[in-house]
Symmetry: C2
Subunit: 242 residues, 2 copies
């Protein structure tokens, strides 16, 4: 299902070739994680929801894969936590920015940032990759991103932003740099954060801060790796018995 949505997105020009390769890498990790939302991902989604609800200016950074796979869910999440939406492509062309924006507008977004006017440069990044909207990612305090390049995640972290990352590889630079990493497939993770946010909406800010403080990303990533290791042993056993 997901793969077909992505190939359709590719044919529509939303997704680039490298995006298809990235999808394949994700699929392999998802398979090793049991193709389900694990406990550590649920815990991370709770912390992410709390962080987004506490944010002064949260932004959801959207690339082609995300738009192809879950544009509607992104719009719903943005509404739930009061986040802006910004198109942010690694292999950037103006045409593709426009297509991703259009997909988000068709999914119900009222406003989509990124591209054109109002763009400034993220420090210590080069080429087109450093562009960000002044009133969007550039001035955000919390950025939610997925399937993101490690250098960009690091650049955002160096600017003092809190980063919520959705990434299926617990060992990626993005996973290890983010403040909160949700090791889960994007189409499960985005509604997962939204449900968590809906549940926390009436919580006191103090309780939300406590939730964020109690979260340990390093431990979360370690739990994800242990899950992969355990599944390998389990599958290896099945092979032995087969």
């Amino acid at each position: 299902m997901t793969r077909h949505a992505l190939v359709a997105g590719f044919e529509k020009g939303l997704v680039c070739g490298q995006g298809l390769i990235a999808q394949g890498r994700g699929e392999a990790f998802d398979y090793l994680l049991g193709e389900e939302t694990n406990d550590f991902a649920k815990d991370a989604s709770e912390a992410a929801a709390a962080m987004l609800l506490l944010a002064r200016s949260p932004v959801i950074s959207v690339n082609g894969n995300m738009a192809a796979l879950c544009a509607r869910e992104i719009v719903l999440l943005a509404g739930e936590v009061g986040a802006k939406i910004e198109v942010n492509l690694f292999y950037r062309t103006d045409e593709r920015v426009e297509r991703v924006r259009k997909a988000l507008m068709e999914a119900g977004a009222k406003r989509v940032m990124g591209g054109g006017r109002g763009e400034v440069r993220i420090p210590e990044l080069f080429s087109e990759r450093r562009r960000a909207s002044r009133n969007g990612i550039y001035s955000a305090d919390v950025v939610l991103l997925a399937l993101e390049d490690g250098d960009r995640t690091k650049a955002l972290a160096r600017m003092g932003k809190k980063v919520v990352a959705v990434d299926l590889n617990p060992l990626s630079v993005t996973s290890q740099t983010a403040t909160v990493t949700i090791v889960d497939e994007i189409t499960r993770a985005v509604p997962g954060i939204r449900f968590a946010a809906a549940g926390l909406k009436r919580a006191k800010r103090k309780a939300l801060r406590e939730k964020v403080r109690a979260f340990d990303n390093r431990k979360t990533l370690s739990r994800a790796l242990k899950r992969i290791g355990a599944r390998m042993r389990e599958l290896s056993g099945e092979l032995g018995r087969g």
Copy 2:
């Protein structure tokens, strides 16, 4: 490097979108296997070389990814073991068959089968996927394939053929169906089989048969899974110390 060669192959029309996704899946497993040729892959290459040298009519089945990544190495291996080369695409169009054939001819192949005349149907397979050359894969006793669909591998096995598979996922249907599975990246595996074949060229047929008999594919796959599990634990420990 490999990824760029593949994206170039994609732009030339050798590789399809699903081929890029398959590449990504492979990359993730390669990473978990340490991005090196492991002992179990070396052992499997030895058995594969012996099997190809013993074969009456060995055929190397080539898809778009293989042609984009290692056309020259395929031609050299075919020469070393006296194998035919056949283009065999999962997402088949006549145009892409022609492009893959051309890439192999440019890499030095004298003859490339597949497509057009002389094709018959593999039993129990449907649509275009069942086509195979009568004098190629259809009548082969040993088929070397890589990155292959599980149903096709099973269909070849049901026809009584011995299958040598190159596949980075030790749990895939192809890996588990093949007679010999080399769990390694294709650009390392193909020359690996060739070097093994060169080393075995003067061996007696009895010694080659003994090598094949001694090989246990299930044990090989189990070793690959154990390697992934061990690497996960190793990387997980690094994370803990970080």
